[in-house]
Symmetry: C2
Subunit: 197 residues, 2 copies
């Protein structure tokens, strides 16, 4: 490819990133080599840092650098509200909107008969435990408006019925839409207009 | 963004890569964290390796890990033919086609009155030196079919007229097209059908 094995190895690894194909990986590597001091070395260092420190929060599944993440650790967030999301990218999207002040629970996916994903493959048992242990009064099901997302929301609602107030994001989430694609205002509107299940 | 400064720092750096915006950088970083052993650590190591070893060939401008690149060093490539390209990505595209057996000269851009890029800002003086020093008999101007690319080709042709055979890639390069976007067959056809200037 580049007639150089170290550079080819880097291109091959870059091409494995979501959103980068072989051609954009080659462009990115040439850009990195040109910006060695400004970008290549800092990026390598930052990756090493994250590789050494990143871990999943044992409580909620968020990604951070401590066993219990900053959000779970913050006393300011103990509102009794728990926002259930499919993955960490959705948690970040909620945080960017800046409107939710409670804590999160990251399922790590959705139920899927097709892919053989059952409740125990997700953080659903742990969610039940948290509702009791953390005196949760409201569970906001902020799952994607997809078939699997809504199936999962109904399953969780069935499990927790009668124990807590159950709500879901409502107005503003387009059919088939995914949280991480929405702008902050839409997320804010959807949270404010949340409805009882 | 992620409520964690190390992870945010990595996202910010990733977002500076060509082809990745903030959203795809976040997705890429989550993917890297999930694939720590398989992707994140190897990628960091490969970047460190390239940062420590990559350099521009002093002769042709290609990127490699030695002062003089493998192509310039190879006696098999001493055909008397020199292929002039705008940048290293174009050299790689020519090499993928596998049809050219001579050596390269990477200009490092094109002449541009608008951007104030003159002949001395590119490797044009060095091209003149190489034509003499390496007993070059043919210079193939494989520049992009853009206005700046063709202006640069004409400038170089003027400079070298009477000293060597001057050719350019011909059939197959679409108007406004860039080498790095073409398939190997098109590049091969264009090289085979090259015409006198
Ligand atoms: Zn947590
Ligand atoms: Zn070279």
């Amino acid at each position: 490819m580049s007639s150089n094995s170290e550079i080819d190895a880097l291109i091959d690894l870059m091409a494995k990133l979501p959103g980068l194909g072989p051609r954009s990986a080659r462009r990115a590597v040439l850009h990195l080599i040109r910006k060695r001091a400004l970008l290549l070395t800092p990026l390598s260092d930052a990756m090493q840092q994250v590789a050494a420190t990143a871990r999943e929060c044992l409580n909620c599944g968020n990604v951070g650098t401590t066993d219990i993440c900053d959000i779970c650790n913050s006393e300011d967030r103990a509102t009794g509200e728990l926002c259930v999301v499919e993955d960490v990218a959705d948690l970040w999207a909620m945080e960017r909107a800046g409107v939710f002040k409670g804590r999160y629970h990251v399922l790590g996916g959705t139920l899927s008969a097709l892919d053989g994903v059952g409740p125990d493959d997700l953080r659903i048992p742990r969610l039940r435990d948290r509702v009791t242990a953390e005196n949760i009064t409201e569970v906001i099901l902020a799952l994607n408006a997809t078939v699997d997302g809504q199936t999962t929301a109904h399953y969780i609602a069935d499990q927790l019925e009668g124990q807590v107030r159950l709500t879901s994001l409502a107005q503003g989430v387009p059919i088939g839409g995914e949280l991480d694609y929405l702008d902050d205002g839409t997320i804010t509107a959807a949270l404010r207009a949340r409805k009882e299940l």
